[in-house]
Symmetry: C2
Subunit: 199 residues, 2 copies
DNA sequence: ATCGCTCTAGAGGGATCGTTCTAGTAGCCT
DNA sequence: AGGCTACTAGAACGATCCCTCTAGAGCGAT
């Protein structure tokens, strides 16, 4: 195997990035292969060279990459606060602000696709689950690090994710940050209370 | 205008019901007009007679009808409990049980479409928002009836909906009721606490 | 009985879907 | 230099997309 020229990695990465961006705005089914190739400036043949499994394989990779990136973003927002409870509390208005700034377009890169494929495409459904699970374990381990029991940490982590995702859904439909702020305040209060007990 | 024969109403209703059922499982874009006509046994011409606006107009009607029906279903589950706090608490395991019983296919009839159209189809986005808003006001008025202030009632209603929707998303991806039960317990605790203050 | 309106019926069109296929280019190896 | 491999390039295919169109069935009114 010869050393891969940089153009190769760039082509692959551009395909993945373009696919993830299109999924974010319009979901899986509405994103055509033609739109991906046009948006990334990559010819059809290159796409099927890098992803012999076609649209599904590219989608899986885009979900994994976008999921990892978004997990890092949320983790960074939480970690830059002085303590975990504050970070969790501030992450909801931060998410609402980013959503609003993008015209209520840029929310969770996985959610739309996850609902579309949940009952129609088992391999992709599995990928969306793996992404959510990675987020849950990342947050859960932070809560454990703050002193919470394992079970309680996982419950709160799942609650946090459900609140964030539900908030995104309602806010995008309403084009208003209200729901995210409401649900965020309640989850943050619960996290505060849980962490106060073990302090 | 002559009295419309029953076949007419049946045709229209069958189209709407079939469309809503297909949206529930696979969303808006993946649901073709051909699948709707085949599933309802209605010819193409009849669809465009009843819905001159085509797929979008039929989708709007299906979302409104399914949204009203689902709102009544959730309201009934909540109201059959001895009191509001209990009804809200029990609605989460009930939702989780219904989801599990359907093989994690039958969840919110609006959510998938709402995310698909949020940034791509303004008329339909508006319809999804109206449905969510009708659910929020229905629950909010129940909370007001139990003695909560108007603002607090709306906050809790939006929180409830966000929790339910986020729970549906995570549970469908995971094919597990865990997230719905976790987020439901936390929201139910918060509702308990809020209602205990005013009792 | 004939007209007029609503609705059914499905063939067909133009566009786009995801994929396959053949050709050609670029760079490393011997 | 010649050959091999990785990759680019885009034309073309069959299937499916949403929609339009023509034809006729059913029924009440005059």
């Amino acid at each position: 195997m010869p050393a891969p020229p940089t153009a190769t990695a760039n082509t692959r990465d551009r395909l993945v990035a373009t696919t993830a961006a299109l999924f974010l705005h319009q979901g899986f089914t509405a994103t055509g292969v033609g739109a991906i190739t046009a948006g990334s400036g990559v010819p059809t043949g290159s796409l099927y060279h890098h992803f012999p499994g076609g649209k599904d394989e590219l989608a899986a990779e885009a979900l994994r990459v976008a999921g990892a990136g978004y997990g890092l973003l949320v983790g960074a927002v939480i970690d830059e606060a002085p303590d975990l409870a504050t970070g969790i509390r501030e992450s909801f208005p931060a998410a609402a602000a980013m959503l609003e700034a993008s015209g209520y377009a840029d929310a969770c890169p996985i959610a739309t696709v996850a609902l579309e494929v949940a009952s129609t495409n088992e391999p992709l459904r599995r990928v969306t689950h793996e992404v959510f699970e990675s987020w849950a374990t990342a947050l859960s381990s932070r809560l454990e690090g703050a002193g919470l029991a394992v079970d309680r940490s996982r419950e709160l982590a799942l609650t946090y994710l459900a609140a964030l995702e539900g908030g995104f859904l309602l806010c995008r439909a309403a084009r208003s940050p209200e729901a995210m702020l409401a649900v965020g305040a309640l989850v943050a209060d619960a996290v505060d209370a849980a962490l106060a007990e073990v302090r």
